[in-house]
Symmetry: C2
Subunit: 417 residues, 2 copies
């Protein structure tokens, strides 16, 4: 007998049950929850069985676990749907709107926004603080974020929700793991761990970070994973984009994907702060549009991005010739650049976000014309160009949704909390 207790000859014991490798139960729970989310309130256990191919008894067991975990509930008052088929009617299943919720935070140059989204994708809390953070210290800004996060948490709890994670959108570059801010020039941040300042009880796990264009892109994606590919173009101070390919956000080898603002339009064009000439931003950035529309540069730089877009949109709606010409020109150049992206990526849809959303009535047709003229596949499939569903709130909303999506895609992590 070498020592007391059992002789350990098998190496380190596995933690729990096959959590390190493949977990079919987790996958099945996710499948069932997806079905419920897709047709919330209109699907029964038997329907899930049919949709997933799992046995009815298995579907029943999965649903029981999801109900016990507070993610799903039976909805009995489905009086709206008239029964036509014979047989025992199924009990409708729907997502709970008093379960886990995601916290999204958008830190920008002149405002900070937070929002809370529940399982069904509904926005349950929203708060925006407009304040120029350029003159302030990093500590000060981080403290404000933490304060806003706590406020959102309190509001969510009062509403019966449980925050299960948080995500922060920043105007800058984030490392590939989504852990630290590599560089956010307009905030004066570099190599900053934003997640650590968020109160620990808000998230349980560390907050996820990403570029605001990436999170804004996710705000356009349905909560249920579909495999669509699209390019979300975000007009802000610069021009950025978020790339969603086959339903997944593509962040790039270093997390720097989507930098289209400095695509060269004309090698002999105007100089750009990046050191080169004729970059897209110099034609279709908000400042370029302002200047072309005849708004004085001095006023433009003091205005935030949002009011600028509204101002331009107002002038365009009033029929101001200079503004209309400026927007047409910006749309042409933007469309020219996007056509190249489209030939490379072959995404089916281009979504105009940021200031381009408000300006879409004037920019959109120009973009569409350019894109259709230059897209090589245009003979067989017309790419769609459309305005984003959300404006300034898109990054915060997308961030919050990404948290919720994580729960829907892997409910077992929530159940095992």
């Amino acid at each position: 007998m070498p020592s007391d207790g059992a002789t350990r000859t098998q190496g380190a014991p596995q933690t729990g049950r096959r959590s390190t490798t493949v977990n079919p139960r987790a996958a099945h729970l996710a499948m069932a929850l997806h079905c419920v989310a897709e047709q919330s309130g209109e699907i029964s256990r038997a329907g899930i069985s049919a949709a997933t191919g799992l046995n009815r008894s298995t579907a029943c067991s999965l649903i029981e676990e999801l109900i016990d975990g507070g993610l799903v509930r039976e909805v009995r008052d489905t009086g709206t749907t008239t029964r036509v088929k014979a047989g025992r009617p199924g009990t409708g299943l729907g997502l709970r709107d008093d379960g886990p919720a995601g916290l999204g935070i958008d830190v920008n140059v002149d405002y900070t926004a937070v929002c809370v989204v529940d399982l069904t994708g509904k926005v349950r809390y929203k708060h925006v603080v407009s304040e120029d953070q350029r003159g302030q210290g990093t500590r000060e800004v981080l403290d404000r974020i933490a304060r806003l996060a706590r406020g959102a948490q309190n509001a969510a709890e009062d509403d019966g929700l449980i925050l299960c994670g948080s995500a922060v959108a920043v105007p800058g570059i984030v490392d590939r793991r989504g852990a630290t801010v590599t560089l956010a020039p307009n905030l004066g941040w570099h190599d900053l761990d934003v997640a650590e300042v968020l109160p620990a009880d808000v998230h349980g796990e560390r907050a996820t970070l990403d570029n605001e264009a990436n999170f804004a892109a996710l705000s356009e994606q349905d909560l249920i994973r579909d495999g669509a590919s699209y390019l979300y173009v975000s007009g802000q101070i610069g021009v950025g984009s978020g790339i969603v390919l086959d339903g997944r956000l593509y962040r790039g080898a270093h997390g720097w994907s989507g930098e289209i603002g400095h695509l060269t339009i004309d090698r002999d064009g105007p100089e750009c702060p990046c050191g080169r000439r004729g970059c897209l931003e110099r034609y279709a950035g908000h400042e370029a549009i302002l200047r072309a529309a005849g708004v004085t540069a001095g006023a433009g730089t003091m205005l935030g991005v949002r009011p600028t877009a509204e101002l331009i949109a107002g002038r365009a709606a009033a029929g101001d010739p200079a503004t209309l010409a400026a927007l047409a020109r910006a749309g042409q150049v933007l469309g020219f650049a996007l056509a190249g992206c489209l030939n490379l990526l072959d995404v089916g849809t281009i979504v105009l976000g940021g200031i381009y959303r408000d300006l879409a009535p004037w920019i959109g047709p120009e973009v569409e014309r350019e894109v259709r003229a230059a897209f090589l596949g245009a003979r067989w499939a017309q790419p769609e160009v459309r305005a984003a569903a959300y404006g300034a709130e898109a990054p915060a909303l997308g961030a919050a949704r990404s948290v919720v999506r994580d729960v829907i895609n892997d409910p077992m992590r929530w159940l095992a909390r």
Copy 2:
């Protein structure tokens, strides 16, 4: 008693065991096979257990199944590795080179190539027929493909291999499912089902189709899935590319991704058959290089792509000033275009394939300079520009490898044959 036999109240019976949904056994078999492939001959059952986190008994069971299925074998003569540790030495496991193999076919304008690759990634058979197919009928070309495929199959069987699938690379556009050729202008094909002409006993399943640039891109990828992202640029008659993101080929919403040949370099540049002006192909396509180097256009059009590249490379190696200037110019323009792609996609590596591979000594440095000057992330990470490992054989090789990769990624499909 309603009828004879058991009353079916559970809907359609499941086929086998959870094959329709999540199959952990299949995933574990793939994990084990991946481990064997990564360190063929140098890993034991215990090593697989350690690498995967699965229990040693489970690893043992998985390996037994893989050995019985003819994918893995024990290698006993590992006399090279000197044992240093105490304890019973493990029996080495390696991929069998007499098991399943993949057939790759490359149909091009002036040649057709087939190759057979075994599980270890080794090329076991290769055959190229040079013949200009432009004047020939579709039926004629398809018959030649079928004949070449049968020849490859016979050779493979004589070599102890079992073809388990085939893939066909075509110079054109393929539908998203990889089932039919939408358009291959140089072959005069459209909406053609190439797979159906291949003898049924060659593949068991239908052959997979894809663009030659896509398959060529896959020839650069290691057989073991790593998550690398790179852009494979293929210089042929036109300029195409294959995009590999996070280890997966991205084919686009319609399967048309990677069309960089018509990115606009100069809106006032020379006319292009595509109807626009100043496309990349007009500067860096093989014909443009020929013309700039002073080779007469008449001779150039009659030459195949491959001899052209060798001719140019020969002149460059001999120090011909016109040729060197032409290549430098082509490299600059190509690098300029690729820098834009890099800012959009943030792939870590650019691979120069097709004719660019042979011309890489002269084009590569120019491309690298342009890319580093224009890539926004260049301050933090230098993108790598390198020549492809394979030249003309890349598409056929990549196609064959894709078949083998499918087996390695899902060995259960092979085992259940």
